[in-house]
């Protein structure tokens, strides 16, 4: 497979995952917002966290002086200045799908293309700000399309290189995003308290789509238990451990021979990351310690992404012998 095509498949999957997660997060917050409007403090805290998870606060503050809801929604969904706005990630998905058209199922390209056209022709032309109900409808459509895409890939894609490169993109994006969400929640607490025991984790559960499954197993929603769950649960398909195991699986399929330098170059840091995640013991650590641990894991994840891109020559031409 061409490196350029592998790169496009990898990024298409990453952007798909990012789009779906961000759309979910925005939906959660738009609902929460309805009840919160009286409680100014929490309301802004939540929006700030979301801004940091879905984009970058520094970048936003560079163009806007204060955080106000309508400009923020516009920024997260449609702004040309935000490379992670839903509009931008959806466009990136479509462009990458177009590049890889001959490696993916035709229906997959058609789905991405049709959704993008719908967005251009029906959403982008509307008057702003959107009424809440149309925002919900749009986000709902984004997520519905994502689910269809996931089903289509699972159901119809041959288990071959293109499939596994997309898997790498998906699971790496998911692991990284999960760690980032945990980290941002923790950092927000740092200002209010130094005792993790006092903090509630309901909001994080909502953002990570873990509410239902968590409640089936646990009753207490203390943040520290929630984080423990999001890192370690062996069955929750968004936990960091599950993501890393899926990555391992993908590499086993990409590299048939498990003694090659390529396989080892990837497997070694992946194993190290898995071990490091397993070792994290939230309940007996202080807030500062946990933040530090999460920062390290996030760096490891990002570093792993670079290693992956280097091993498969996904970066622009370095002359290879």
């Amino acid at each position: 497979m061409l490196s350029r095509v592998a790169d496009a498949l990898y990024w298409m999957a990453r952007y798909s995952e990012r789009t779906e997660t961000n759309a979910h997060i925005l939906q959660v917050q738009l609902l929460n917002m309805l009840e919160q409007s009286g409680n100014e403090h929490e309301y802004l805290d939540h929006w700030e966290a979301i801004l940091d998870i879905c984009a970058s606060k520094e970048e936003f503050m560079a163009s806007y002086e204060v955080i106000r809801v309508n400009p923020l929604i516009e920024y997260l969904l449609f702004s040309e200045n935000n490379s992670n706005a839903l509009h931008a990630t959806l466009r990136a998905i479509r462009e990458n799908a177009r590049i890889t058209r001959d490696s993916i199922p035709i229906e997959l390209w058609e789905l991405h293309n049709a959704f993008y056209l719908y967005m251009q022709q029906e959403i982008m032309v509307r008057e702003r700000p959107f009424p809440l109900i149309s925002l919900h409808y749009f986000l709902h459509n984004v997520r519905k399309t994502s689910l269809t895409v996931t089903g289509l890939i699972e159901d119809s894609m041959e288990r071959d290189l293109p499939f596994y490169f997309m898997q790498v993109g998906k699971w790496l994006e998911r692991a990284e995003k999960m760690i980032r969400m945990i980290l941002i929640m923790l950092e927000q607490q740092k200002l209010a308290t130094s005792n993790l025991d006092e903090v509630d984790g309901t909001f994080l559960l909502d953002l990570t789509k873990a509410t239902e499954s968590f409640h089936r197993k646990y009753h207490q929603t203390k943040l520290k238990y929630v984080i423990q769950y999001l890192l370690h649960d062996a069955h929750f398909p968004r936990s960091v451990i599950v993501c890393l195991k899926k990555l391992e699986e993908a590499f086993i399929h990409i590299e048939k021979d498990h003694l090659t330098a390529r396989f080892l170059a990837l497997n070694t840091p992946l194993k190290a990351l898995l071990a490091a995640i397993n070792e994290v013991d939230i309940p007996s650590s202080s807030l500062e310690d946990v933040i530090l641990l999460m920062e390290e894991r996030l760096c490891q994840c990002i570093e792993f992404g670079h290693t992956f891109s280097t091993v498969y020559h996904l970066y622009e031409p370095s002359l290879q012998a």
């Binding site: 497979m1 061409l2 490196s3 350029r4 592998a6 462009e95 177009r98 590049i99 058209r101 001959d102 035709i106 390209w109 058609e110 293309n113 049709a114 056209l117 290189l161 390529r262 498969y312 020559h313 996904l314 622009e316 031409p317 002359l319 290879q320």
Partner: protein, 496 residues
């Protein structure tokens, strides 16, 4: 029975007066069974099918290009078997002669020595590449895929309008038009037996792989790629379609690299050598070390690898010398010279404007002639005398005086017409037909081709960049012409 219109003094593909021609009768009967609403609905479905599949081309403009679909018109061009047989034979003859010419131009230039073609026409041609002199191209074939444009005059005579021997585009539309036609207008196919397109791609692949580079070892299967300019190119869909159908990698220039005069593609496992490049970028952009330095689309040192015999490039480099509008007039002579045959398909009469007496006559008759720039395409820099303003005629008068060699003149031909259905009504539109000819060890003509239609009422320009659309093209099979429906054949509507 519905009345479409009266064909009048024009040659109409479907109608004689207001009645359908014999080979259009059953189509016409089916058509009459549809209501306006049904036709309108199907029309919408067809257009959105193209959009959904992303079968679009890019129109360059102020905003860096917008995507459009090529409008599709469902009334097919139906060609009876006998007529197609003549076209097919004529096409093979023409492409064979053109290839002989290219082989000759880049070796002995015997045709110049024998005084058939003026040397000037070759040496002053911007698409003639002396770099190609003596380069041994695989199986002596310069033309892997040709797109020859045919028109019909007011008497229904087919004439060649233009040869495209560089990168003829649009072949994917032939397949997509058929696909959409079958999907949305299945009713029309019953009672017809037409030549299928199903197996054509296998033939094309065989022709492609026949171009083994001279240094490739005998038993090794060659590895082929399709070189595209990328997803913003106006013909990108064509490239994707062909790569998929031929089952070869779709690569961009930056995916390739030349080392030690061999060409490699950059894969996730490192470099992999390739043997055949079906390129869909122009000569000028192929190799920045030889042609345009600013080309970002090509591959540095590709020409060196080509000359060393390590890579086949299809179509061959330098084909433009044979397909420009000035050389066009000499193709019948090429056929006589190389094949010792009379041309089967006629050209359109062409006047050379560097000839003083021809020029004088042409300048006097600009208002009734078509003037074309010999190196332009796509309907640009062209004067259609009878439709032109005095100002336009004057401007061409000046241009011709200044650069007589740059222009040719042709009589205005009353192009044939066929019904098109747009905006809820049928009206006559001018049509032409691009026929695709593939050449490997043998020559093969794709049955049918791309029927292009000038959808703007009264317009003569069929190019998709200027508002043209496309139609499906049906070649009737022989047996239908002679036999009534046989008892063994099941036709599509379920009757036997």
């Amino acid at each position: 029975m519905m009345k479409l219109y009266d064909s009048g003094s024009y040659f109409d593909e479907m109608l004689d007066g207001d009645q359908p021609k014999p080979h259009y009768c059953s189509f016409y009967r089916k058509l009459s069974a549809f209501s306006q609403e049904q036709l309108e609905e199907k029309h919408q479905q067809a257009q959105s099918s193209f959009l959904r599949q992303g079968i679009t081309f890019t129109v360059y403009g102020a905003q860096g290009g917008t995507e459009r679909t090529m409008p599709f018109d469902f009334v097919p061009i139906i060609i009876p078997h006998e007529q197609w047989h003549i076209i097919e034979t004529g096409m093979k003859q023409r492409v064979k002669a053109l290839n002989c010419f290219l082989q000759d131009v880049y070796t002995q230039q015997q045709i110049v020595i024998d005084g058939i073609i003026p040397r000037r026409l070759i040496e002053q041609n911007p698409y003639y590449f002396p770099e190609m002199l003596g380069v041994q191209v695989p199986i002596d074939n310069h033309i892997f895929l040709a797109g020859i444009d045919l028109i019909r005059d007011e008497h229904g005579v087919y004439r060649v309008l233009e040869d495209n021997l560089r990168n003829p585009s649009g072949i994917s539309y032939v397949f997509q038009n058929r696909f959409v036609m079958k999907e949305i207008y299945p009713e029309f196919f019953s009672k017809h037996t037409i030549q299928s397109l199903e197996k054509q791609m296998a033939t094309m692949k065989k022709a492609l792989l026949a171009h083994r580079p001279p240094t490739l070892q005998a038993h090794v299967e060659p590895k082929a790629v399709l070189l595209t300019a990328g997803m913003y190119n106006s013909a990108y869909y064509d490239h994707v379609f062909l790569a998929q159908q031929l089952n070869i990698q779709l690569v961009e220039g930056r995916d390739l690299i030349v080392q030690d005069l061999k060409v490699y593609m950059k894969t996730i496992y490192g470099l992999e050598q390739i043997d055949i490049i079906y390129r869909r970028i122009d000569d000028d952009f192929l190799d920045p070390t030889v042609f345009r330095e600013d080309s970002l689309l090509g591959v540095a040192h590709l020409m060196a690898a080509y000359k060393a015999g390590n890579i086949a490039i299809l179509n061959a480099v330098g084909n433009g010398v044979a397909d420009d509008k000035a050389m066009y007039a000499y193709v019948p002579d090429m056929i006589r010279y190389y094949l010792h045959e009379e041309p089967i398909l006629e050209n359109v009469t062409t006047y050379h404007l560097d000839d003083e007496s021809q020029r004088a006559w042409v300048l006097d008759h600009l208002h009734e002639l078509v003037i074309k720039n010999v190196s332009a395409s796509g309907g640009y820099d062209m004067l259609i005398g009878p439709h032109a303003s005095a100002e336009e005629i004057n401007s061409f008068y000046e241009k011709i005086l200044k650069h007589p060699q740059q222009y040719i003149a042709q009589p205005t031909i009353q192009l044939s017409r066929a019904p098109a259905y747009q905006n809820g009504k049928f009206y006559p539109c001018h049509v032409d037909l691009r026929v695709y000819v593939m050449k490997g060890d043998d020559i093969f003509v794709l049955p049918g081709g791309l029927s292009r239609v000038a959808l703007k009422e009264g317009s003569l320009i069929v190019n998709s960049s200027q508002g043209g659309g496309a139609k499906d093209t049906w070649i009737l099979k022989e047996e239908l012409q002679h036999a009534k429906s046989s008892s063994r054949r099941t036709v599509l509507d379920g009757t036997i």
